[in-house]
Subunit: 451 residues, 2 copies
């Protein structure tokens, strides 16, 4: 509510070109809030407002917007002003945003940086987006192990302004190999004449530049770090990843897992997309899953064809099919979701297959028995099919046991043979459960009632 | 692999009481890794190893284990040793772990603290676990606005050892109201004779003690903070929340959302639970959802009863039911998952119902048309039912459009009337889509083929 009023106020002030009041209102806001407002303005208003921002705020705001807005805003600033603003941004953020732009736009912007920074940005853009290299920044604080503490402090003073974080000071040898870490407190508390190598902690936790971002996030969370150093295959320090980027990674990976469990790919959409591009990205990410499921459901249909004789004899059999396959699907999804998420958060060890299977099997038998009794009562009493009651109930229990077993086993097997359990589980499990459910049902009907 | 070997080695060293080698091996490890090993040992081994740890490491290790292990380890240490270790832990962590213990165990441990800390721990235990108060620590660094910078530095020196983080120094007035924030850098760079109130930034982002932890996490992520101050209703500073706790919150909330989407409650289990308690907590969290779905599927069954005449006439109708309801369920789950997650991450604004609905409707029509054509071809060619081809295809398209609309609309409506969309969506959507799907199918069959 407040946000909307503020937006209207700012639109009005822009309309009236009341720069003094605009600057006064904007000064009070956090760059993240200014970025939110900016995204709700039209392009003319965006440019107007942006020109009023001081360089450091402008840089922080740019860091929060998407690539298209970024390019649009910078478009008609002077090269000089653009350079001043970009210099305030951290290089990894610049590289990330440039990744969203066309090659010609990229070149235009990279040319505004000095030679060294431009090279760093190009390097950063080479790493795959979801690896340690893709999310690290090259602006970090490091000192040499053979410096004295007072030399190290001198070094820090000269670098501090361009470094993204100084909570940890990394220590390298003369060729740049990571050999230790110092906290600011270590530095302040130590005798200035001691050597860095005497004061530093040499047992430093680091990640390789090619490590998957999900693994990096796990390491930072496990060891409660504010930043983690990134090294290449020769343990040469290449950059650092700060905890604010890790927050984004954890959210991103959770979203990815959720979408995969629901049987859809990653969708990169935002509210500002055009309807056509929204449609296209949705169809592209969702259709493959649906076509696999469709193919699976035809297999189920073919299986049912084998039971058409029974259905012709007693059409009442059909009305219990939704309950049987629906409940199978539900308990199967529950089991597979628990397993997939358990694997992702490390609570379930995929090596302990038999223990997990035994436990989920027990849950399946127990819940299946309860649902089976409920089903046979409803079949007998509410649906007036007392002769079908026992067989429907028994089918329900058998089906739920099978479904919970398949739901638990499939992700563990997929994980063990190196397939992402979240991706593989959704269409595979629902189809398998539909097929086994119908076979169990119609076979039991034949055996128990002779239909 | 390495981890397992290390575990075996340590078990061996404990067996042989080789304390010297044990201490040497343990010294190299991070407390988080020691905790992992500890959890894999039996109780005797745990106690043996724990006694060898220095106090500060022991405190960090205790912080990583669950309540039962915590109580078991402390059980037969002397009160003096226990006190020394607990003093090294941060009070919010102590409060969290105590929350898992019985009241008598809680009292026994709280009595080991001095009066002031004991009161703080009791206060922290009063806040609900998933609020700002429940995750904050009371050990923070604050200075008064009327101090000089040099007085503030004196104050910091005296407090630092018990404060959890000194990345930000919070500023209060004489009754404790939060009025500003200083960075360590502000302090180091400023003239020692200036007043804190002149140097501090007065525009400080804070949260209320009762705010939901999910909202706190959003604020920390949005503003890229390392810590956020927590105040009561009178803006009196009560504590701080550091970013390492926020990492846990984000992962916890994502897991909660995933389980809700899959139609199961929160399951708090871990690998060390007994099989009986695992069974009980699983059944308790999953059965309610399954019973609701079962009730829904009986409604679907009752709806199908109305079409039994048609089924008796042509049993081939049945074999397309899994495809129709299965595909409806799938696209419905995709739509609802995208909407639920979009609401959770803030990408979808629940106020823009009509825009989202229009877009997902378009996706439904488009994908429905493709799947409808595929279905009618398969029905006609592979299943040898050319007369059913068009009606099955048409039903598929209509059903997928309906399902994607319901999947998008339901979470948005639930959100707007104040029900958690993730909880409400799963059983409601699958049941509704089953019912509408069957009605659409059999009605179209009647209309188009006269069966």
């Amino acid at each position: 509510m407040e946000q909307t009023n503020l937006l209207d106020e700012i639109k009005n002030l822009i309309q009236n070109s009341d720069n003094k009041e605009l600057i006064y209102r904007i000064e009070e806001l956090h760059p993240a809030d200014i970025a939110e407002i900016l995204l709700d303005l039209d392009e003319q208003e965006q440019k107007y407002l942006f020109k009023l921002l001081p360089h450091d705020t402008a840089a922080e705001v740019l860091n929060e917007v998407d690539g298209d807005t970024f390019a649009a805003i910078l478009e008609n600033l002077t090269a000089e002003k653009t350079t001043e603003i970009l210099d305030e941004m951290s290089l990894d953020d610049v590289a990330d945003i440039l990744g969203e732009l066309s090659e010609s736009e990229q070149t235009k912007i990279i040319e505004l940086f000095d030679h060294e920074d431009a090279a760093d940005i190009r390097d950063l853009m080479h790493y795959s987006e979801d690896t340690a290299g893709g999310i690290m920044t090259t602006e970090f604080v490091s000192v040499r192990e053979d410096m004295t503490i007072s030399q190290a402090i001198e070094e820090l003073r000269s670098m501090e302004s361009e470094a993204e974080t100084i909570y940890y000071v990394y220590v390298t040898d003369y060729i740049g190999t990571l050999v230790g870490v110092l906290s600011l407190r270590d530095i302040i508390m130590s005798n200035p004449n001691r050597l860095v190598s005497e004061v530093m902690q040499s047992n430093v936790i680091y990640v390789n530049v090619h490590m998957d971002q999900e693994e990096v996030a796990k390491a930072v969370a496990k060891y409660d770090l504010l930043a983690i150093p990134v090294v290449d295959n020769e343990t040469i320090l290449q950059g650092i990843i700060t905890v604010d980027d890790i927050l984004d990674v954890i959210e991103e990976e959770a979203t990815e897992d959720i979408f995969r469990i629901a049987g859809t790919g990653e969708i990169e959409y935002d509210e500002n997309d055009s309807t056509a591009s929204h449609l296209w990205s949705s169809v592209k990410s969702r259709l493959p899953w649906l076509m696999i499921t469709l193919a699976g459901s035809f297999v189920t249909g073919a299986v049912i064809t084998g039971f058409e004789g029974q259905i012709s004899q007693n059409a009442a059999l059909v009305k219990f099919m939704p309950a049987l396959t629906g409940m199978g699907g539900n308990i199967g999804t529950q089991s597979s979701t628990l397993t997939v998420r358990g694997i992702a958060t490390g609570r379930i060890n995929s090596k302990e297959i038999s223990k997990n299977l035994f436990r989920e099997g027990l849950v399946g038998i127990f819940i299946g028995a309860i649902c089976g009794i409920a089903t046979s009562l409803v079949a007998g009493l509410a649906f007036g099919q007392p002769q079908l009651g026992p067989v429907v109930g028994f089918s329900m229990a058998a089906n739920m046991l099978t479904a919970s077993t398949i739901g638990t086993l499939a992700p563990l097997i997929f994980k063990n043979i190196g397939i992402d359990p979240a991706v593989a589980s959704a269409p595979f499990i629902s189809t398998t459960i539909d097929i086994t459910g119908n076979i169990i049902y119609f076979t039991l009907v034949k055996l128990m009632t002779g239909i």
